[in-house]
Amino acid sequence: MPVRFFIPLLAFLSIAIALGVGLFLKPAEVPSALVGKAAPEFQLPALDNQVKGLSRDDLAKGQVTIVNFFASWCAPCRVEHPQLIALRDAGYAVHAVVHKDTPKNARQFLDKLGNPFQLIGTDNDGRVSIDWGVYGVPETFIIDGNGNIIYRHVGAIMPDDLTEKILPFLAKVQS
């Protein structure tokens, strides 16, 4: 039996191996091209008169900050919300960008689930999210005191993510 008849099988098996490995790659670890770079320039209006808006300058005040992109219509955002509250309780400055949402719905979301955020900017048209390279909500960034993005988490922050990745990372940065 000629070898050429085996070529399709071998080609398929190599694809299958790649697919198999691909299944077990951590999909959430999509690094941002922005990690290690300065956060993009932006200035967002406040959600409502209870909070202040968010701008690039707020992220370069010498303190490590966390920026969370969320929307009230996003189910995973609800799931990760307790973890954001835990971050606030651990003493970190957590800010938010409300992604394509109405102020009313976003406020209701926070009234119901608690508000871990200090500053909340609203990005109605999603332009700022695009500048940050956000695929979709939720996404969370950690910014050093000089306004540089040093970490990115895609998708909901699950309790494991918090204890195994984000808190250790923050501890390392702080020390």
Binding site: F12, L19, G22, L23, P27, V30, Y135, V154, G155
Partner: protein, 669 residues
């Protein structure tokens, strides 16, 4: 209401029964065929027909659950809502992972039953084997559904209200996109089953090609329409104004289309010349493998896994295992058995066979380049750990150089004779077509001017293919041969009409692609009511912006009056909709199609008090693109009605009586 209450249990039970039936069908007829046991082989037909009955019960049960909004079912609660219009309650059945799998299985069963009922001319052992292979695929999908994605899983306690269907999917175009796509994907399973049965028997002959052709053609027509519906939906619903984005999900449906198109053409060579046999078998396997791979890519989250929330690794592992068994198994069978397929007639490189091989080479290379582009991010990640993708520049860059010679050759190919052809003579018969192409191109250049070289190439290819298809038809019916023309037109085989239409349709499609690529005009602006924007000579005036209520959304509607030299052409009413369940905003583009261009408007959010961000487009020849695809699909339908391929055509009746076709000498010419 009793039936509605217990419908999920009935549906679940029917699905389990189907699995039992499919297991029997996958084994007994195969054993019967090997032992020449007629009784066991004969079981395949009733089993296939009964199976479709039980799957239909199961599908009906799920549909009832959606219609009565039974939120004690997890899938209904997470995808439906009482306020949703009935059409989308029903299309919601397959608008999610679990339900779409059930639709897959239903279609698979329908195709299996169709082979059982209409495949009377198939020799009994062949039919038994093909149906057994078909049932193996069904078993795989049933296990996948029952073990990892059961649509009948109950939610305890039941939800009071459903979450609702993603508003982007609440659209008539998308309601019918998945069924057509699946009819295409699953239709190729018949070609696959026939190929495996032929490999088991070690025999491929012109009769095999004739059996496999109508099923392949049917699948091809469905897939063509399915892809077009998806593309059309992206065009008017996503509001980006594009029609193809080379994203992994689109590519997943395009790869089987390319391979299936190659299969249709190579099967012709098997039928007419008893040649290219092992290649055709391989194509049949690959086409269906691409269909399965498409399912894998979409559902496992291996590529579009940026948000891993919706995906379940258990499903990915199951599909991968299934893929390895089905594709790996069939390719291994191919590797060991392909050599037993005797090669047929010889031919010169310049011949109809040669042209069809060129077609196959280009189409399969195209399919492989799409595959590489789609899996590139995965390979890159696996091998180097880096992340990256290839975008439209890669696909356009490799695709155009493959398609240009294909389309150029398509004009001449049908005029070449079998075995050995005279290329020069064929081209001379098309000299008028070549002249037309050059003249049209020159007129375009001078009249409109400023066309990029790429667009010029597109127009040249489109005009060439349209003119050559019509020219070939005129030569074939002998337009200049005088009396009896009508009779010759009527006697032209339907398959030939089908080819002419399909090639012509592709030409029209290429013209559409070139037109919209060359002359598209776009304007992003912030407009207040009363203001105007002029784009490509058309003046869009925003006359009003008002709120309008919908059944499960509220919308902001912009009213644009479009004028051309002060003459009113159209009123466009794009909407920006806000859905309540689930809360989400969508844009509804307003499109006014005209013969030579589409007018396209999108209204966005308020940019400042009383001012709206809008996007306006002029899309020249956009309509030609869809019409071209429709003509292609129509060509497939016309070809299906050809007497030669009609399922159960009488001239092969004698074959049923021969119980051992594998003992027959291979037909040769």
């Amino acid at each position: 209401m009793m039936i509605a209450t217990f419908a999920p249990e009935i549906g679940h039970f029917a699905l389990v029964l189907t699995l039992a039936l499919a297991l029997l069908q996958a084994t007994l007829p195969l054993y019967g065929a090997a032992r020449n046991n007629t009784a066991l082989m004969a079981l395949a037909r009733p089993l296939a027909v009964t199976q479709v009955l039980f799957v239909a019960i199961s599908f009906a049960a799920l549909t009832i659950a959606y219609i009565v909004s039974d939120f004690s079912l997890t899938v209904v609660a997470s995808n439906s809502h009482t306020a949703k219009p009935m059409l989308y309650k029903i299309s919601g059945v397959w608008g999610n992972h679990e339900g779409s799998l059930l639709l897959w299985i239903l279609i698979l069963a329908v195709f299996g039953a169709a082979v059982a009922l209409f495949g009377r001319m198939l020799p009994m052992p062949f039919r038994a084997r093909a149906l057994a292979v078909q049932a193996m695929i069904t078993v795989g999908f049933l296990l996948f559904t029952l073990l990892t994605s059961n649509p009948f899983d109950r939610l305890d306690p039941a939800a009071v209200e459903g979450i609702g269907l993603n508003p982007l999917l609440q659209d008539p175009g998308l309601a019918f996109h998945p069924p057509f796509l699946y009819l295409g994907y699953v239709g190729f399973s018949i070609a696959f089953s026939f190929a495996i049965a032929a490999l088991i028997e070690g025999k491929v002959d012109p009769a095999w090609a004739r059996w496999v052709r109508p099923w392949t053609l049917m699948a091809w027509v469905f897939l063509t329409i399915g892809i077009a519906l998806g593309s059309w939906w992206a065009y008017y619903e996503l509001g980006w104004g594009g029609w193809w984005f080379w994203d992994p999900v689109e590519n997943a449906s395009f790869m089987p289309w390319l391979a299936g198109t190659a299969l249709l053409h190579s099967a012709i060579v098997v039928e007419k010349r008893d040649s290219l046999k092992s290649w055709t078998i391989l194509l049949a396997i690959i086409t269906f493998s691409f269909s399965l791979l498409g399912t894998f890519l979409v559902r496992s989250g291996v590529l579009t896994s940026v948000h891993a929330f919706a995906t379940d690794p258990a499903r990915g592992v199951f599909i991968l295992a299934f893929l390895i068994v089905v594709v790996g198994g069939s390719l291994a069978l191919y590797a060991f058995r392909a050599n037993s397929l005797t090669p047929g007639g010889l031919f010169e490189p310049i011949s109809r066979e040669g042209a069809l091989i060129l077609n196959n080479l280009l189409l399969s290379t195209a399919a492989v380049t799409v595959l590489i582009g789609t899996l590139y991010p995965l390979f890159l990640d696996v091998v180097t750990g880096e992340k990256g993708t290839v975008g439209p520049p890669y696909f356009n860059g490799v695709f155009i150089p493959l398609m240009a010679p294909l389309i150029a050759a398509m004009g001449i190919g049908p005029l070449l004779t079998w075995k050995r052809a005279d290329l020069k003579a064929a081209f001379q018969r098309l000299i008028a077509v070549a002249i037309i192409t050059v003249v049209v191109l020159l007129v375009l250049m001078i009249w409109i001017g400023g066309v990029s070289p790429l667009a010029a190439l597109g127009f040249a290819l489109g005009v060439w293919l349209v003119a050559a298809s019509i020219g070939e038809w005129m030569i074939r019916v002998g337009v200049r041969d005088g009396a009896g023309l009508w009779g010759r037109i009527r006697r032209l085989p339907r398959a030939h009409w089908g080819m002419t239409l399909a090639h012509l349709g592709l030409g029209v499609f290429v013209l559409g692609v070139a037109g919209v690529g060359a002359w598209e005009d776009e304007r992003l602006a912030v407009m207040k009511v009363g203001e105007s924007q002029t784009i490509s000579g058309y003046t869009f005036t925003l006359t009003d912006v008002k709120p309008v209520p919908g059944p499960n959304y509220t919308a902001l509607q912009g009213v644009f009056t479009v004028t051309d030299n002060a003459k009113q052409i159209a009123i466009l009413r794009p909407e920006s909709r806000t859905y309540v369940n689930p809360p989400m905003a969508t844009t509804e583009a307003a499109i006014y199609p005209m013969a030579l261009r589409d007018l396209y408007a999108v209204i966005g959010e308020s940019a400042a008090p009383g001012a709206w961000s809008v996007r306006l487009y002029i899309k020249p020849l956009q309509g030609w693109l869809w019409i071209g695809v429709l003509i292609m699909a129509l060509g497939g339908v016309v070809s299906l009605t050809d007497r030669r391929y009609r399922i159960g055509a009488p001239q092969r009746r004698s074959m049923i009586k021969d119980p051992t076709p594998s003992a027959q000498p291979v037909a040769s010419e």
